[in-house]
Symmetry: C2
Subunit: 367 residues, 2 copies
């Protein structure tokens, strides 16, 4: 029940990695004739099957953190006269740390709401704690009204929610590929820049993979046109995994995947209402299907101890998130309705039997 | 003959990747209990077997470009009153682009020589074109005399030369793992910060992998002590490859590897002198064994056309580097003396038969 932290491997992904290793052995350095195009090729595929992004706007490479940094820095350069950035205090840590670091260096204020002095709004599409799904188009409209740019972190929606970056008027986005997509631990993130914007953005990290005529190795840095200028050196093995995982998602179809995801979370909510509400659990996730992503969060004063007991006594692995959230991730490609029923039943059993009472509190853990 | 662009896979590396995929399948998210330590664990191993770096000073993760950026930015922050950086005009492109980007943003001059206004000196340990090996200790001494910091790019020495970062008084270093080490295309780079310096350096990219008490997800960014603060999210699959490749190198022993590398390049130089000097080739690599790295560079006016003909007619894959260099890489773990003899013989055959004359000039290619 933690596939929204790390998805499970499909056979297609495992096979693709083994085939890429074999290709490396056969082709050696000549493999780069094809591999050099992987960030854009896999980016376009991901844009098509998962992100609602037309070709030429997505590249895959680097971590979510590095991509957030590149895009946020470039966006602030593009709004040099604005004095503030907007990010929620409960936003995912790396998003806040990256943005506050950039803001501090430039003397910008970090605020909670948008106004005419805002350069950039950074938001998660799905909240990593509660699972709340934000209305991307509404945020984009409000942000564009004041002339600011939007940067979306889709880490908790990619592969579970039908993300529509183009239709929603998103400017910039990032997200990781190891959660619902299931490409593997630490596989590279994507970055998206809407068409028309990429030629004006300049990466703060001037790498040779964004250089015009890369192998001429010219004296001056002259970035290529388009999204490629924001691309870093690709991990060729990891990109085999991301490409295979994206194909699996494409075969299932994101609309069908989202429909199953909504049904799974609805099933979990009904089961939690019926079996867990009398045991001190409270639903933190929106009840309206179109206002939540692919996971369900339950608040409980003993959430951390319950989480430990579930792992050790019941072989159920959820996630604990500070301060009181038990998070149940259910990647639609690999989770059955029976899995959800069983997990809720085991949570009930742990609490009814007091199996969690033998563990220290969360505060003991955090040292 | 291009293993200094991309090394060949050992069976140990291929096996380690397959085992890591299997571990992911078995352990799912609980694998992170061990994987979280990979950047430092593999970094320490690499420090021991290849870099002459005691534990706690090396982490593996992110690309060479991103690591250069992080370290150069942090070093410039540490010398806020200095107005210049030093990098050679013929340094590897990404090194120049990264540093000139940082310098431009801060209004610093980019110079070719060190003086009392220098904040940072960036140098390659082995020149990517000529194979010349720089005296790390001498550069460090000259740099430290004026109070500047040194940043070394060891991409072309790691795994071929006995790098001794600690002994040489290096401050900072980066390097990639896919050349002589043979970890695989696009595998992550390392970064090194000498003991005592890491606590004072702050990454410009404030990611959650450098955060104190990472999973408490605190409001403020508070970097951990030591090298870990400069670490990014690790690619767990790639790190399996880097770890396995480092173990193979450790079994052979870097001293033995360097001895064979010197003998291989000496053999290539003798053979080129005898077979190629009458055909317009000129040695660009130092003849003294202790002044060169693991590759041999030959200048020729038709270098690009000869390179094409070698690949297509003779199944010999060297590298061409602008403007006139034919680069012969010979990773000591996988290259035999017979390979070198055969390659030089085939170069002679191509030129004697004029097989290269059917190809356009390099200038035609660069469009």
């Amino acid at each position: 029940m933690d596939g929204n932290s790390l998805g499970a491997p499909s056979q297609a992904v495992a096979d693709a990695i083994a085939e890429r290793v074999d290709e490396w052995r056969r082709r050696l350095v000549s493999g780069w004739e094809d591999w050099i195009e992987l960030p854009g090729r896999v980016g376009d595929l991901l844009g098509e099957v998962a992100l609602g992004a037309a070709a030429g706007q997505v590249v895959v490479g680097d971590s979510t953190t590095v991509n957030l940094y590149k895009l946020a820095s470039a966006a602030l350069d593009a709004r040099p006269d604005r004095r503030a950035v907007v990010v929620d205090a409960d936003e995912f840590p790396t998003d806040r740390y990256v943005l506050s670091g950039l803001a501090e260096r430039r003397g910008l204020a970090v605020r909670a709401s948008v106004d005419s002095d805002t350069a950039l709004v950074l938001r998660s599409h799905v909240d990593f704690r509660t699972g709340a799904l934000r209305d991307m188009a509404a945020v984009a409209a409000a942000t564009h009204t004041v002339g600011a740019l939007t940067l979306w972190d889709t880490s908790h929606s990619l592969g579970a929610v039908d993300v529509r970056l183009d239709d929603a008027g998103a400017d910039l986005a990032v997200g990781c590929t190891y959660k619902y997509l299931g490409a593997g631990p630490g596989t590279p993130a994507f970055l998206y820049v809407r068409r028309g914007l990429s030629d004006t953005l300049r990466s703060p990290i001037q790498g040779w993979f964004g250089q015009h005529d890369q192998f001429a190795m010219g004296e001056e840095y002259r970035p290529v046109a388009g999204i490629g200028r924001l691309s870093g050196t690709p991990s060729v093995l990891d990109l085999a995994a991301v490409e295979a995982a994206a194909r699996v998602l494409g075969e299932a179809g994101i609309a069908a995947v989202r429909a199953k995801s909504s049904a799974l979370t609805a099933h979990a909510i009904v089961a939690a209402d019926s079996e867990l509400s009398a045991l001190g659990f409270e639903l933190a996730t929106p009840r309206e299907a179109d206002r939540r992503g692919g996971h369900v969060a339950l608040r409980h004063a003993d959430a951390w101890r319950i989480c430990r007991a579930l792992i050790e006594h019941e072989s159920v692995v959820p996630d604990f998130r500070e301060p009181d959230i038990l998070r149940l991730g259910m990647p639609p490609l690999t989770t059955t309705f029976g899995d959800v029923t069983e997990a809720i039943g085991r949570i009930r059993r742990v609490v009814e039997r007091g199996l969690h009472l033998g563990y220290g509190s969360a505060r003991t853990r955090v040292t």
